[in-house]
């Protein structure tokens, strides 16, 4: 048998009709995740055409993007940003009722950011094909699932047929050699990788992250890495399932149980890329060279070690980006004054991320000029964090502890920064205006974000962790 990559094994197992010169493959979708922003037009189209959902039990819906992260008022009103946001959420609620889709809505104990709750519930499993009208669906690739974002028209296709028309993408192996240094995390690694290969470095490809530094990552860290694959333009990001994956999944509510679990694990063990399988492209990254990394421009590829000088602009667009950010070529980002710190988003809002931030904040105060928002990724994360008392660490430090949602990652629920403000953010996009019109975003790890909140300027978390240890 020919040696296959992880991607090829999953792809081949889901082909309903093979591709030809004239037609794309018809690819079967195992799991379809849905949220309020990219689904309404698809439900409308189905209704207008008199179509039903083919496999509603393979869908999971949640509320996350337009939802307020402040608690419900005494009169029961939720503090929506505007009537449109409120209507959009109401529409998903009624669509799910009408079409028979399981919705983790306001009354669910499991509501949260779609890419946080899928894994948490154990619905995300190795070898699956997973789609969502959301580009950060790549997050689920951490489990060795082929997971990617689709547009709303395709959301309709999956609803009606459980299938998509797809051309087979190319494969890109990113080997990460060595081990990450102490105090450097998954977020630093993925920002470093995108800084190396560029925001279009993965276009047309599915990335498989490989090598000792990847194998050593926890599941949460793997999700952080795969989450940002789309920021390198990749169709999806994958990491081979291993013992870390199985241990994390076992016992989750919707993971297989008993004999079915054993059978599933036996199947999943056959997924990793075979020795001798070929990728279309390969890149090598040295983990030992990664430092706490931040962005200095207006896309995630403009990333450097925080103590390295900001490179000069190479063209008019980079010049505009540096001016927008008020980054100074020749100066490091470290030390730049900060107005807002945001800890949250499907990149970094899981329990381990909150612990990482809390470790820096414990016994310290957020600088008086800084507003800090901590938004857990899901109700489960919120519960676990409160059980450990993390919320008290945050509030004692002067940060706001919020209800789960996308919040300031996309700033469409009213959580946003003011024009000109500098936000150190654990999210995934530093595009112009992403966190509010005119707001400036610096992407960073939870530890860096917390250290910057305390310092009032972009700061190296290793300085803070050392002090605590001493």
């Amino acid at each position: 048998m020919t040696a296959k990559t992880l991607f090829e094994k999953i792809w081949d197992a889901h082909v309903v009709a093979a591709e030809s010169t004239d037609t794309p493959a018809i690819l079967y979708v195992d799991l379809h995740l849905v949220h309020e922003v990219t689904s309404p037009q698809a439900f409308t189209e189905l209704r207008e055409r008199g179509l039903k959902l083919r496999r509603p039990e393979r869908m999971l819906a949640t509320l996350d993007h337009s939802t307020p992260t402040l608690p419900t008022a005494a009169n029961g009103e939720r503090p929506y940003a505007n009537d449109e946001a409120k209507a959009q959420v109401a529409q998903l609620e009624s669509n799910c009722r009408e079409f028979g889709v399981a919705l983790h809505g306001w009354d669910s104990a499991d509501r949260g950011i779609v890419h946080v709750i899928g894994p948490e519930l154990g619905v995300t499993q190795p070898g699956m094909t997973i789609v969502c009208g959301d580009s950060h669906t790549s997050t689920h690739g951490a489990f060795g699932a082929l997971a990617f974002g689709i547009g709303t028209t395709e959301v309709g296709h999956v609803m009606a047929t459980q299938c998509l028309l797809q051309r087979r993408p190319k494969t890109l192996a990113i080997h990460v050699d060595g081990q990450l240094p102490q105090g450097v995390g998954a977020k630093d690694l993925i920002l470093h990788i995108i800084g190396q290969i560029g925001v279009d470095g993965g276009t047309g490809h599915v990335i498989e992250y490989r090598g000792p530094a990847i194998a050593a990552l926890s599941m949460e860290q793997r999700m952080t890495v795969c989450n940002m694959s789309i920021e390198a333009g990749a169709r999806a990001g994958l990491i081979a399932p291993d013992e870390t994956t199985f241990a994390w999944l076992q016992g989750r509510p919707q993971a297989p149980q008993g004999a079915a679990w054993d059978a599933a694990v036996a199947r999943w063990r056959r997924l990793p890329t075979d020795a001798g399988a070929r990728f279309d492209r390969e890149v090598r990254i040295d983990a030992t060279a990664v430092k706490p990394t931040v962005t200095y421009g207006t896309h995630p590829g403009m990333a450097i070690a925080m103590d390295a000088p900001v490179p000069p602009a190479r063209n008019a667009q980079e010049k505009r980006a540096l001016e927008y950010m008020q980054s100074q070529p020749g100066q490091p980002m470290q030390g730049m004054p900060v107005d807002v710190v945001f800890i949250g988003s499907c990149t970094n809002s899981r329990l381990s991320d909150l612990r990482e931030a809390a470790n820096v904040l414990r016994g310290r105060r957020v600088a008086s000029r800084v507003r800090m928002l901590v938004v857990p990724g899901s109700e489960a994360v919120r519960r676990d964090a409160e059980r450990e008392g993390l919320h008290q660490v945050f509030t004692a430090a002067g940060a706001e502890w919020r209800v789960p949602g996308c919040s300031m990652c996309i700033a469409m629920n009213g959580d946003l920064a003011q024009p000109g403000q500098l936000v150190v953010s654990t999210s995934n996009r530093n595009f112009e205006g992403r966190q509010g019109k005119g707001a400036r975003t610096v992407l960073a790890s939870p530890a860096t974000a917390a250290a910057s909140a305390v310092a009032g300027s972009i700061a190296d978390p290793r300085d803070y962790l050392v002090e605590v240890a001493a």
């Binding site: 018809i26 337009s66 547009g151 709303t152 279009d200 276009t203 199947r267 063209n315 469409m412 205006g433």
Partner: protein
């Protein structure tokens, strides 16, 4: 979808590289539940000044860019989110084709599914197009070429199925639904996976 066979227009140029979907339509406008009427929001934060008036520095606000249906954009146009609101907004704004040396995958997919011609050309041709705003072009979908003002041609390639759907106005969902039997067979053969 209406068939798209030929587009004839002058070009407007947005030379910035990596124009992301947040710039095409900012996220705060995504609370809409319809596809319609997004043209007025297209490039919103770039196109208007703080007081709501047109930003004279935005290239598409120039008099010579008015009524141009072909947009020549800097490399990697449409990167970022999967929001189909981006092609919906562009189409409603009057853009019928985007020419670029490289396009983000999801954006290209979404665009073609809505009849917005998302076309990649070589770097050299792209450079020429960027340097010649206002060029009168004709894009021929059947022949897969762009006719230049001097009668010269730039060849391009569309994914064959996307091209077929554009030319004949084929509804891709309808095409998928015709394969219902194959899908059922697949589900029966993959019980363990599809349990």
């Amino acid at each position: 979808m209406k068939p798209v066979t030929r587009i004839h227009s002058r070009t407007a140029v947005l030379a910035d590289e990596n124009i992301d979907t947040d710039r095409i339509i900012p996220a705060r406008f995504l609370t809409t539940t319809t596809r319609e009427g997004l043209g007025r929001l297209c490039f919103h934060d770039w196109r208007y000044q703080a007081d709501g008036s047109d930003n004279p520095a935005f290239p598409l606000n120039q008099p010579q860019a008015q009524s141009c249906a072909i947009l020549v954009a800097g490399q990697n146009f449409g990167c970022g989110s999967s929001r189909e609101h981006a092609p919906w907004a562009l189409l409603d704004y009057g853009i019928q084709a985007v020419l670029c040396s490289e396009l983000a995958d999801i954006f290209r997919n979404n665009a073609l599914k809505n009849g917005l011609l998302a076309i990649t050309v070589s770097e050299g041709e792209h450079r020429w197009l960027l340097e010649h705003p206002g060029s009168e072009l004709a894009i021929d979908v059947r022949g897969e070429f762009i006719e230049l003002p001097d009668g010269g041609r730039i060849a391009f390639q569309l994914e064959p199925f996307a091209r077929h759907c554009l030319l004949h106005g084929v509804d891709q969902l309808g095409y998928l639904l015709q394969h219902a039997d194959a899908i059922t067979r697949y589900e029966q053969q993959h019980q363990e996976q599809v349990a």
